[in-house]
Symmetry: C2
Subunit: 329 residues, 2 copies
């Protein structure tokens, strides 16, 4: 039910992903009357691959998470996470209210032993490939220990996804200006990260490093991460608008625009938000993936396939094993 | 002496600005032996318009501000600010160490009555024109009262620069995710800003609003502002690189690139960092302007002309009058 478009996007995306993975079973939770009409073009998808689980309510995008958590127990969001908590589903994907998703998954799934709070982690494109950035808003303020945990979890997640890959590099987001006061937690987190031999900590990185690919993973609090990501999206949107304007100023630039069409399209694909959709909530006892609220069918499909992969790798267990070993050491 | 290039940039920029403003007098502070060789092409600039003030030391770009403040009293930076503090100069412009500039100007010039700390404020281009963003790194953490002061100062600064303009709109940078905990100072700052009838406070804005032109002024702590600005610069650089690549893939795209040349150039001019160079330190008893360390001659000239304008409007006095009236009220 979540996101800016609800079942209009989530149902077709589900059908797409079911065509890709024949082993997959999907439960769609929400208002059956709203979901059902979008079940068109089912083709030859076997009917045992999907089911609709009717829920009497939904969490609105602008609803207060604390209110939703207390009062919306038959919402699609709460019920979807309950399926994961009860072991009936391997992962939950939502395009809905991020704050409610974080709060509800924290309450129902709990965090892994040794993890204080979950963090939202996403990929961002860089000049060299991509960087993993976390946290993106699950934690407004973070202790040094939490920042360290974020780096460690993301490091394990990236290693688990690469076949025989080397340890990913981890940077801590900071500002270059020498500090007169404050942000002691970042300095302390740097010490914790340096001290862990299983983490390839490369030091502080600045805002522009995010897109240079200086580090494979960039760690920050959820406030800074959210601001950095949204500001970047804002610039990209503005520049793309400016470029369109520039290429329609006069006949010459219009011809240039037409000729440049395929090149610009391949550029657009390279930066396609849909290709980067699907942020993971790391640190929970279960797989939870957050789709952008404004995701397209293609974008939401991508978030679903992120969930399939995370569940397949059983990332929560990998992280917990590492944590338990660390505690025993 | 400051910036990535020192007198090689600052001297030619000074000569340029002297050609523009015949009433202007400039004192160049630093190592005379390094400065003097760049005095070429002086043309008909009268020699009483400029003078070199030799200083035996300089603050390095990566020097610890606390060290510089204590030990570098004959540095070009300290001496330049001393001229402003002593009333011998109306403004100081530097491309040097930002932390040292903030610390030294705070110590020598002091803040205005009622202002806790200075803030660094710059213009950023938006789809509609530009937004003023502050703080950019003078204050890693900010109280509600400080954030309110930033909004008020920027509001006065923008009003003073517009002829008969209406009150500029002020937004507070925040994240959309409903908070589980933290950043009470932003919520409190929102109340302070709303309560001031002389400020057109429009509420919270998010990272992407920065470039939509949602508000004329966006207020945040120096950590978030620095991250937002640098991340945005990083994206812009990455995208411009991607575009160049896309337009050199094959013959067709190369022809498109050639045809698009003038259009892309006008786009580049629209976004030229030189045009936005010159960030103001608001809240001090004197005009201090920070140039980007990597600024070109054109960029540093721009920072110099920002200083000329600020000094001409006597912004510190305008802000202090407003503050004193508020205290009496």
């Amino acid at each position: 039910m979540g996101g800016d478009f609800g079942p209009r996007i989530t149902v077709p995306a589900t059908l797409d992903i079911l065509r890709q993975y024949s082993f997959l079973r999907v439960v769609l939770l929400g208002d059956e009357n709203e979901i059902r009409p979008h079940f068109t073009n089912i083709g030859d998808i076997p009917s045992d691959q999907y089911q609709i689980h009717h829920c009497s309510e939904a969490v609105a995008m602008d609803e207060k998470p604390s209110f939703a958590v207390r009062n919306k127990r038959d919402s699609s969001l709460w019920q979807a996470l309950k399926l994961v908590a009860d072991g009936q589903a391997n992962a939950c994907v939502s395009a809905g209210n991020t704050g409610a998703l974080v709060a509800m998954s924290f309450l129902q799934l709990k965090t892994l032993t040794g993890i204080t709070r979950p963090a939202i982690c996403t990929k961002v494109p860089t000049s060299k490939g991509y960087t993993h950035l976390l946290d993106l808003g699950a934690n407004i303020e973070c202790s040094a220990e939490q920042l360290y945990q974020f780096g460690m979890m993301a490091s394990l997640a990236v290693m688990a996804s690469a076949v025989g890959g080397k340890k990913p590099s981890v940077g801590l987001l900071n500002i270059g200006v020498e500090e007169i006061k404050g942000r002691q937690q970042i300095l302390d987190a740097a010490e914790l990260l340096s001290a862990d031999p299983e983490i390839d900590y490369i030091g502080f990185v600045e805002g522009d490093d995010l897109f240079k690919g200086t580090a494979d993973i960039v760690v920050c609090d959820g406030f800074s991460g959210n601001i950095a990501l949204k500001a970047s999206e804002g610039v990209a949107t503005m520049l793309s608008g400016f470029l369109k304007e520039a290429l329609s100023q006069n006949l010459r630039s219009k011809v240039a625009g037409l000729l440049a069409g395929p090149a610009l399209e391949s550029l657009q694909q390279r930066l396609d938000p849909a290709a980067y959709n699907g942020a993971c909530l790391l640190g929970l006892r279960g797989v939870v993936v957050k789709s952008h609220g404004g995701a397209s069918v293609e974008g939401f499909s991508r978030a679903l396939s992120v969930a399939v992969n995370e569940a397949h790798r059983d990332l929560p267990t990998l992280i917990e094993e590492r944590l338990l070993n660390k505690i025993i050491d």
